[in-house]
């Protein structure tokens, strides 16, 4: 049993995924608030937009870490989300500031539903990957 770079990667990913889970929950709550009239779309977009890039970067960061650690399976599992993030960010509306959400279109029922669904899917993905990383970490620690 040895503390390898891979084990370090898994530990780091574990922590960061916990953070991402909070991001996802925050998104879900925010969109729910929008849907139930509690928040004004401009404010909501202003609070959500700055969080988008950090989330993507965190995910990108530990994908790179896994690449360096040659954890191919884990990397492979994360690639679809990475690709999705790239696609999502390149197809964002015309905006001068970072972020994805445009207050003028966010109240469109389709977009709102999409964002909510996206939030739930991400939450599920992060939760699953959280346990996967936990398992991966222990496995790496034990096997090496």
């Amino acid at each position: 049993m040895a503390f390898t770079f891979a084990a370090f990667c898994y530990m780091l990913a574990l922590l960061l995924t916990a953070a991402l889970i909070f991001f996802a929950i925050w998104h879900i709550i925010a969109f729910d608030e929008l849907k139930t009239d509690y928040k004004n779309p401009i404010d909501q977009c202003n609070t959500l937009n700055p969080l988008v890039l950090p989330e993507y970067l965190i995910h990108f960061f530990f994908c790179v870490m896994f690449l360096c650690a040659a954890e191919w399976l884990t990397l492979f599992l994360n690639l679809p989300l990475l690709a999705y993030h790239v696609w999502r960010y390149t197809s964002r509306p015309v905006m001068s500031c970072p972020g994805l959400y445009d207050p003028t279109t966010i109240m469109n029922a389709d977009i709102l539903a999409y964002c909510q669904k996206e939030g739930w899917c991400k939450l599920a993905f992060y939760l699953l990957s959280f346990f996967y990383y936990l398992y991966g970490m222990i496995y790496v620690l034990v096997s090496s």
């Binding site: 009239d37 779309p41 401009i42 015309v94 905006m95 207050p103 003028t104 109240m107 029922a109």
Partner: protein, 1166 residues
């Protein structure tokens, strides 16, 4: 009614409003659309910075807080400062308290506002002050007394502004400084005899508020010619009422009771009534007494005439009000203001368009001519008369409200059979009705039908609401509403009532479709909650009887307007503020619009909606931004140039937006000299972005309307744009790029504007590409409008010039509503999916409209969340809360009721093909911006294919093969084809990007009839019109020629054809057109001598010419913007413009109608 009694009553009313305001108990977010403001822009304060809150003591405060204690007063104020009412700003006390009223206040207003209240303890205890003092100062205060009564002019809202101690103070200042004024006023008020002490004793708090109102008024009227800060001028009460008051001298005598006429049309009990009139009267008297007052009253007559439906009520009050000792009631409103009006229940259904003299009386014959297809069924106008109506109305038994749906469920065989008659489009070619289609009627009981909302205002794509989303999906038709909420109406019941009765849980306004369980309870038709009927509502002002809540005007009309109380305000209603932002670069000078604009504005300066508080400002820009100081007293306008466009600032805060009344001469001078000032300009750059930023800064304290005139691509400063159009791609069939904005600068600015209640209207007069896709955002999200004049030039393009002139005239003089919000509520189970139009969507059902104008419409896509099985009726209610140009807060409520059906065939039978097409167009525009144009086109074609397939699969016993659709929808494929050939969506034909984008903007904002004419113009043959079925209106005979198919087949060389495209008429003259027509109508000897650019019909005294002109006038009658007219000769170059509208024909890039049907048919069988 004795004076004390009256005052008491009012006092108590006021109290009850203050303590339990209408809906006040409900959580703020539910309390009317307005209540949702606070969370909106918390940091900046929706209506200004926090200092304002402090400075403007709340309305509610006087009522709620112990009035005798100044400290308490302000504390409570502070506590409430988030509440809407606390915005009700009185003018800042200081200037008037300490300085003579004419002294201009020192510049930094905010500082004053914030400090003021606390520094002025002497004036702070309003209650005690007025309860004790006023009546000791006899003549002056006697004058105040009636005014006191007048205070609650806008119902519960009255205590509003005035309640600010500062304003109260004004009055004092005024009465002391100008005693002659009050003395003048005093004798006019009979009610000054009212023994004040009891009143005061009974309701000190209210008294205080009311009293101060008056004072505020008097004072503001008196001092309005001094240069105020923004909020002084926006002090709403005084000026708005002044404007209603006509000559102060003849009205005040009316006193309270007669006054009721004024405020209201009698739709409420005697008590609350009189307020508006009273206040008008009192303020008028006050105004008339002062120098400024004289100004006010002299001009108020014009104001009265301006506002169409207000004028009715108001003028009736001025004529009958002073004479009648009885509360003027609903009848008298009807009788007084609308000479040939009908019973109250009619006025909803008869709303004709503004300029219509003709009405529709003559219609039935024309209708009877046509086949009795349900789509031709006349709309619910009663004017159609029973004869034309009976065939359709007979089948409907007069059902009670409760069983209304039975009519819908059981179905009406004849009607439905006809609507559902299968039509094989491939065989039946002649499908057009003889006259333009009318909206189908919902299949509800005739009682409900009578009161249902006019289809011109409110229309649903499916007049039979499917029960479930599954059923809707089966029908493959879009579900949505088309709304034209602020349409010019000829008749509109205006209701002033202390309590606006609304459902306690969903806040729906009471409407004709609620159910009265018994005398005291009503059941909401949207959420089914059982509510109590308030006492006040039991009295029916129409019959002046008690205990008939179901006869109240609110329950008899599905379109009503309420005068809102202070509960519906976040701040005092803003004045009408107009800022004109003019491009004066070289390009603009070349185009020469400036002269035309200045002339138009000069002509219409007196017709601009507003009151004495109206303010205007001008701002011009090229590579720098120029401001104009128009403060009264200057000998000529001062131009201030700001060349730092990267950080544009406002050079002077209080002199750039000036009161129109006071600075009228300077404004005129500026408008006269403006065109010449820049005639030598060589500056080619355009700093539109910085100019808009400056406009935003200039307007943000008040809100209002910004009109931007732009002639080229903005090239400097923030928001500069690059040309994105590739001329070679104009006719590309592949796809069109750059339909979306290039930058979000304009969108963000528009959102900021919307937050500050600034609406921006864009006039683009460009001959080059100017990136309308980006620029239009400024209007789109601030609820403005877009006007586009491609290749505008004052000499080379007279047609555009003429159009510009006409549009400007309408634009400047049309009604306007400020700081508006619109909420659309619908029956439980339905929800709003998407909005289309110009606005900012603030929550799932709330639109924020900085300005609302009578020419813009909205579309709403709906979805069905839950099954509607347990209800038989589905209702929609659109409530538009706005501030009129007279500074009154008003709520216009429209309610639409539709039957719920469970059968697919019923859904098909109730389809409204025009509404469906318009909604589809809106959806397609969205799609083409978010995805691509070809996607959108495919989606539109698929809509037709899907619908035809859905119909075929739903009808199992269908014998025919081919493309079969129900008769109601027989025009659907034609409209879809027409949609594909529109500038907005066409491919393959050379279309400039800006023109395409403008067409898209039009689709989003034009009302349905206009849109349908754009989409599928009406074609008539004029040279052989007969009098058969003609309308006889007044002394004119209006022939009703048959509608023709838009195909070259129907044109013949020997005829003259009129095509009505909404904003433009084409008169096409065939080569072999009869000499008589050319001579009698066009006044030319022969075909060859008809000039090629003829743009009007000469007024000849021949019968044929009279017929043609009568017909043209009749067509034009209901339009907001008058249409231009072109005579197109068969061999002229303008022929192409005419021919492109013949949508059934094949063009180089698009298929013919027949080919299109074949295509749809093929797609179906796939």
């Amino acid at each position: 009614m004795s004076a004390p009694g009256r005052t008491n009553l009012r006092g108590s009313v006021g109290y009850s409003q203050n303590s339990t305001p209408n809906g006040g108990a409900a959580p703020p977010c539910q309390n009317g659309p307005l209540q949702t403001y606070p969370p909106m822009y918390p940091p900046t304060g929706y209506y200004g910075a926090p200092p304002h809150h402090q400075g403007y003591p709340g309305v509610s405060a006087p009522g709620k807080a112990p009035v005798t204690n100044s400290a308490n007063y302000y504390q409570s104020n502070q506590q409430h400062h988030v509440a809407p009412s606390s915005y009700s700003a009185g003018p800042p006390p200081q200037p008037y308290a300490t300085v003579p009223s004419s002294a201009p206040p020192p510049p930094p207003p905010h500082a004053q506002y914030s400090q003021q209240p606390f520094q002025q303890p002497p004036y702070a205890p309003p209650g005690s002050y007025y309860a004790q003092q006023p009546y000791q100062v006899s003549p002056a205060q006697l004058h105040q007394q009636p005014g006191l009564v007048a205070a609650p002019a806008s119902g519960p809202g009255a205590p509003i502004y005035p309640s600010a101690p500062g304003s109260g103070h004004y009055g004092t200042t005024r009465t002391t400084t100008a005693p002659e004024a009050t003395q003048m006023g005093a004798p006019l008020h009979h009610y000054s005899a009212a023994p004040p002490p009891p009143t005061a004793a009974l309701h000190p708090g209210y008294e205080a508020a009311a009293q101060m109102t008056v004072n505020g008024k008097g004072c503001a009227a008196g001092v309005q010619n001094s240069s105020h800060q923004h909020y002084d001028q926006s002090h709403p009460a005084p000026r708005s009422y002044n404007s209603y008051s006509g000559g102060g001298a003849d009205r005040p005598a009316s006193g309270t009771l007669s006054a009721s006429a004024h405020s209201s049309p009698g739709r409420h009990q005697g008590t609350p009534f009189g307020f508006a009139a009273d206040s008008g009267a009192s303020s008028a008297s006050a105004a008339a007494s002062g120098p400024a007052g004289a100004l006010t009253s002299s001009s108020s007559d014009d104001d009265d005439e301006d506002e169409d439906e207000e004028a009715g009520g108001d003028s009736s009050s001025s004529s009958t009000g002073s004479a009648s000792p009885v509360p003027n009631n609903y009848d008298s409103l009807e009788g007084g203001s609308y000479p040939d009006s009908m019973p109250p229940s009619n006025d909803m259904t008869n709303q004709a368009q503004p300029y219509s003299n003709y009405g529709y009386q003559g219609m039935p014959p024309a209708y009877q001519q046509g086949p009795a297809q349900p789509t031709d069924a006349p709309p619910s106008q009663n004017l159609y008369g029973p004869s034309g109506y009976q065939p359709y109305s007979q089948p409907f038994p007069s059902l009670s409200q409760l069983s209304a749906a039975l009519g819908g469920l059981s179905g009406v065989p004849e009607l439905e059979v006809e609507a559902l008659r299968p039509v094989n489009l491939l065989q039946e070619r002649n499908l057009l009705p003889p006259r333009p289609l009318e909206a189908p009627e919902p299949d509800i009981s005739s009682d409900l039908k009578k009161v249902n909302c006019s289809p011109q205002t409110f229309r649903c794509t499916l007049t039979s609401m499917p029960q479930t989303q599954a059923l809707l999906n089966k029908a493959r038709l879009p579900l949505g509403l088309l709304l034209h909420p602020f349409r010019d109406l000829q008749q509109l019941p205006v209701i002033t009532s202390n309590t606006i009765v609304r459902c306690r849980s969903c806040r729906t306004y009471i409407n004709p479709f609620v159910t009265f369980l018994d005398q005291r309870r009503w059941k909401c038709n949207l959420c089914y909650r059982v509510n109590d009927v308030p006492d006040e509502f039991m009295y029916n002002p129409v019959t002046r009887s008690y205990g008939e809540p179901h006869k109240r005007p609110e329950v008899q009309n599905s379109t009503v307007e309420f005068i809102a109380s202070s509960d519906y305000m976040l701040r005092p209603p803003q004045p009408a503020v107009y800022l004109f932002v003019l491009d004066v670069s070289h390009n603009a000078v070349e185009a020469g619009y400036l002269k035309r604009f200045c002339d138009s504005l000069l002509e219409n300066l007196d017709k601009i909606p507003g009151d004495t508080r109206t303010r205007v400002g001008f701002l011009t820009f090229d590579s720098t931004v120029h401001f104009y100081n128009l403060t009264e007293g200057l000998s000529q306008p001062q131009m201030l140039v700001v060349s730092d466009i990267d950080d544009v600032f406002i050079p002077s805060h209080d002199s750039l937006m000036v009161n129109l009344k006071e600075s009228r001469e300077l404004v005129k001078e500026l408008l006269t000299s403006l065109p010449a000032m820049f005639s030598q300009s060589r500056e080619t750059h355009s700093a539109l972005g910085p100019a808009l930023q400056a406009a935003f800064k200039l307007m943000s304290p008040t809100g209002g309307r910004v009109s931007v005139f732009q002639t080229q691509l903005p090239t400097l400063g923030a928001g500069k744009l690059q040309s994105r159009e590739d001329p070679n791609q104009r006719s590309s069939a592949k796809g069109v790029q750059h339909l979306g904005p290039a930058t979000d600068f304009y969108k963000k600015l528009a959102l900021d504007c919307s937050g500050q209640q600034i609406g921006v209207d864009l006039f683009l007069l460009s001959s080059q590409y100017a990136d309308l896709a980006s620029l239009a955002c400024i209007a789109k999200y601030s609820a403005g409008s877009v006007f586009y004049y491609p290749s505008f030039h004052h000499v080379h393009n007279p047609a555009q010039m003429e159009k510009f002139r006409r549009d400007l005239e309408r634009y400047l003089t049309r009604k306007i509503g400020f700081e508006a919000v619109m909420r659309i509520r619908c029956t439980k189970g339905l929800s709003i999916h998407t909005f289309h139009g110009n606005f900012f969507v603030r929550s799932t059902d709330l639109l924020s409209l900085a300005n609302v104008n009578p020419d813009s419409a909205f579309a709403v896509q709906m979805s069905i969340d839950d099954s509607l099985a347990d209800s038989s009726l589905a209702c929609f209610q659109a409530a538009l809360l706005y501030t009129s140009s007279k500074g009154k807060r008003r709520i216009r409520v429209h309610t639409l009721c539709l039957p719920v059906v469970s059968q697919l065939s019923d859904v098909f039978a109730g389809a409204d093909v025009q509404a469906i097409t318009c909604l589809l167009a809106n959806m397609a525009i969205d799609r083409s911006i978010s995805c691509s144009l070809s996607d959108a086109r495919d989606a539109v074609v698929n809509a037709a294919v899907d619908f035809a397939s859905a119909y075929r699969s739903s009808v199992s016993n269908l014998q025919q093969s081919g493309l079969v659709v129900p008769a109601v929808m027989r025009l659907f494929p034609l409209y879809v084809l027409a949609l594909l050939k529109q500038k907005a969506l066409r491919t393959g034909t050379s279309t400039r990007l800006d023109e395409r984008v403008f067409a898209m903007c039009e689709f989003k904002t034009q009302p349905l009839p206009q849109l349908m004419r754009m989409l599928h113009p009406d074609l008539y043959r004029l040279d052989n019109m007969s009098d058969q079925g003609a309308l006889h209106l007044n002394d004119a005979v209006v022939p009703q020629p048959r509608l023709l198919h838009l195909s070259a087949e129907t044109l013949s060389r020997d005829g003259a054809f009129l095509m009505d495209c909404g904003s433009v008429f084409y008169l096409w003259i065939g080569k072999g057109c009869g000499e008589t027509f050319i001579r009698d109508v066009l006044g030319c000897p022969s075909y060859a001598s008809v000039p090629s650019n003829m743009s009007h019909i000469p007024e000849l005294q021949t019968p044929l010419s009279e017929r043609v002109r009568a017909f043209l006038d009749w067509l034009q009658d209901n339009r907001a913007f008058s249409s231009t007219f072109h005579v197109v000769k068969d061999d002229s170059s303008a022929k192409a413009a005419f021919l492109q509208h013949l949508v059934e024909d094949r063009t180089e890039s698009a298929s013919s109608y027949h080919d299109f049907l074949q295509h749809v048919h093929q797609q179906m069988s796939k």
